[in-house]
């Protein structure tokens, strides 16, 4: 019985983890410009993330070690530095964007400029990490994140042609704005498949004490959780397509994004949009700061656990504190959160190969995985994701210049 509680919780957490500033912003831009045509990119991103989370979760449950820990040991410090930097730099930019997302939400709610909110929001997130345990961080943000179900309500209220939405599941080339289209594909994939998400997930499996008996929980959490999360992101896109496309509005600020819910649901929709934006971005802020601290601590062999008091793992606690503080600076100085979001999603997409390709080796190492190594299905999926990640790596920067 207890395990099913954990399954439910895990699923809810995945929903909360999926929907954040990046997926909201890129889905809205995609829907506004190309209607339902980009639904396939969200679906593809969702499946890839589910596969990667299932694998890093399985890796942690079977070996009792985190993905970062195994990366350092198998790559050695000389090559570990590459994924380390490739996760840290885009991850930090995503953290700044999430903090910006909360700040923008608060600006829209109060009228006080977003830059003034940067430091207070960072402090509240810091206090949660400093005082809370892993369970509190995970469950608290997850349950509140359920507010994002409002996007489903909004989409239903707008009465889209669901067959047209379904048709978007099949990839198709655009009739115009090719560079912009493929740029949005890369951003959507970058927003869905964030390295910090599966690094956080594998560390979380250890924080929650997962063992081999949790492989079922892991599969359901990664699969069903992301299915719901990705489904909600598609609803965001549907809302945007219904609201913006007919009016030919091109989205270039967060203030406009609120219209996706304000149009079908009025003031309540607007309020719910702000609540959802603030909560999901706040949750992501906490998770990315922790993921950064896990990256340092596990890579360098420090004591680490969000369940330990800060004085027992002072470098770990100092790392997330410092990351939050540094992330607040660009926002406090008035950096444009939406521009930052777009750049960080593309960079995030470009960084994928170095965390995806090593997984192929680790998931097939029987000394680590015993009898739970990847089968042919898992390996085929992982090879395809690795190939996709290489394409994203090569295409990201040129597309940023052409379409961004």
């Amino acid at each position: 019985m207890k395990k099913w509680g954990e399954v439910a919780l895990g699923v809810v957490t995945s929903i909360g983890g999926f929907l954040e500033v990046g997926s909201i912003a890129t889905s809205v831009q995609g829907g506004a410009q190309f209607g339902f045509q980009l639904v396939w990119a969200l679906a593809l991103g969702t499946v890839c993330l589910a596969v990667l989370m299932e694998m890093t979760g399985r890796l942690a449950a079977v070996s009792g070690r985190s993905y970062v820990d195994l990366l350092r040991e198998h790559l050695g410090i000389r090559f570990f530095i590459i994924p380390f930097v490739a996760v840290l730099v885009p991850g930090f930019l995503v953290l700044v964007s999430e903090l910006g997302g909360v700040a923008i939400g608060l600006q829209m709610a109060t009228g006080i400029a977003f830059r003034w909110w940067a430091i207070p929001v960072a402090l509240v997130a810091w206090a949660l990490l400093w005082r809370g345990t892993f369970g509190l961080v995970e469950q608290g943000t997850a349950l509140l994140g359920l507010a994002s179900v409002i996007f489903l309500v909004g989409a239903l209220k707008l009465h889209p042609h669901w067959s047209a939405v379904g048709a978007g599941l099949v990839p198709s080339a655009p009739s115009r704005d090719h560079a912009k289209y493929w740029y949005l594909v890369v951003s959507i994939l970058g927003a869905s498949i964030s390295p910090y998400l599966y690094l956080f997930y594998s560390a979380g499996a250890l924080e929650d004490g997962w063992t081999i008996e949790y492989l079922g929980v892991n599969r359901v959490t990664a699969g069903v959780g992301n299915l719901f999360g990705g489904g909600l992101a598609i609803m965001v896109l549907v809302c945007a397509a219904m609201v913006f496309l007919p009016r030919r509005i091109e989205v270039d600020a967060y203030e406009q994004i609120a219209l996706v819910l304000a149009t079908p649901l009025g003031r309540t929709g607007f309020a719910f949009f702000l609540i959802t934006l603030c909560i999901t971005c706040f949750g992501a802020t906490a998770e990315i700061s922790l993921a950064g601290a896990y990256l340092f601590a596990q890579g360098l062999g420090w004591p680490w656990s969000e369940n330990m008091r800060p004085s027992a793992d002072s470098r770990f606690a100092s790392t997330y504190s410092l990351l939050l503080l540094l992330a607040a600076i660009p926002i406090a100085l008035g950096a444009d959160p939406l521009k930052l979001t777009n750049i960080s999603m593309v960079l995030s997409a470009a960084s994928l190969p170095v965390t995806v390709i090593p997984l192929l080796v680790l998931m097939n190492d029987e000394r680590i995985m015993t009898s739970h190594a990847n089968g042919w299905l898992g390996n085929t999926a992982l090879v395809l994701i690795a190939l996709l990640s290489i394409v994203l790596f090569l295409a990201a920067v040129p597309l940023q210049m052409l379409g961004g």
Binding site: G76, G132, L136, W302, P310, S318
Partner: protein, 129 residues
């Protein structure tokens, strides 16, 4: 350990734990001792930022020397005699105490001068479930 020990696979970069099973860093480098008339043997494991940067590459080591506190980090290297190894598995347990290691200087310094001065550093709020 019948197959012998693969230093690069089993020891280099492995997670090290002290006698209380606390994390004390990873094996950043190995020291071989050359002896007259007998084969070289592993003398010690090294832990520390300076050693790590050396292994990443010369450019990284040079970069490290430009950082503030470079002199401190050069002296903050722990040398753990190989004789202190108690077991080698997925982690390596060594018979030393975390508090005695120079490479744990930053952890101790942060705990004493920063972390413990902030309220709540010594307790955690449990979640309800």
């Amino acid at each position: 350990m019948n197959d012998g020990l693969d230093l690069r696979h089993d020891v280099q970069d492995a997670q090290l734990k002290d006698r209380n099973r606390e994390n004390i860093g990873r094996c950043d480098s190995l020291v071989l001792e050359l002896r007259d008339g007998s084969p070289p043997r592993v003398a010690a494991m090294l832990i520390g930022g300076a050693v790590r940067r050396e292994r990443v590459g010369r450019w990284m080591a040079t970069l490290g020397r430009l950082l503030p506190g470079a002199r401190n980090s050069a002296s903050a290297v722990s040398r753990i005699p190989f004789d202190a190894v108690r077991s080698i598995g997925t982690t390596i347990e060594v018979d030393v105490l975390r508090d005695d290691l120079p490479s744990e200087h930053l952890e101790r310094w942060l705990a004493k001068h920063v972390v413990c001065r902030i309220p709540g550093a010594d307790q955690k709020q449990e979640s309800k479930t």
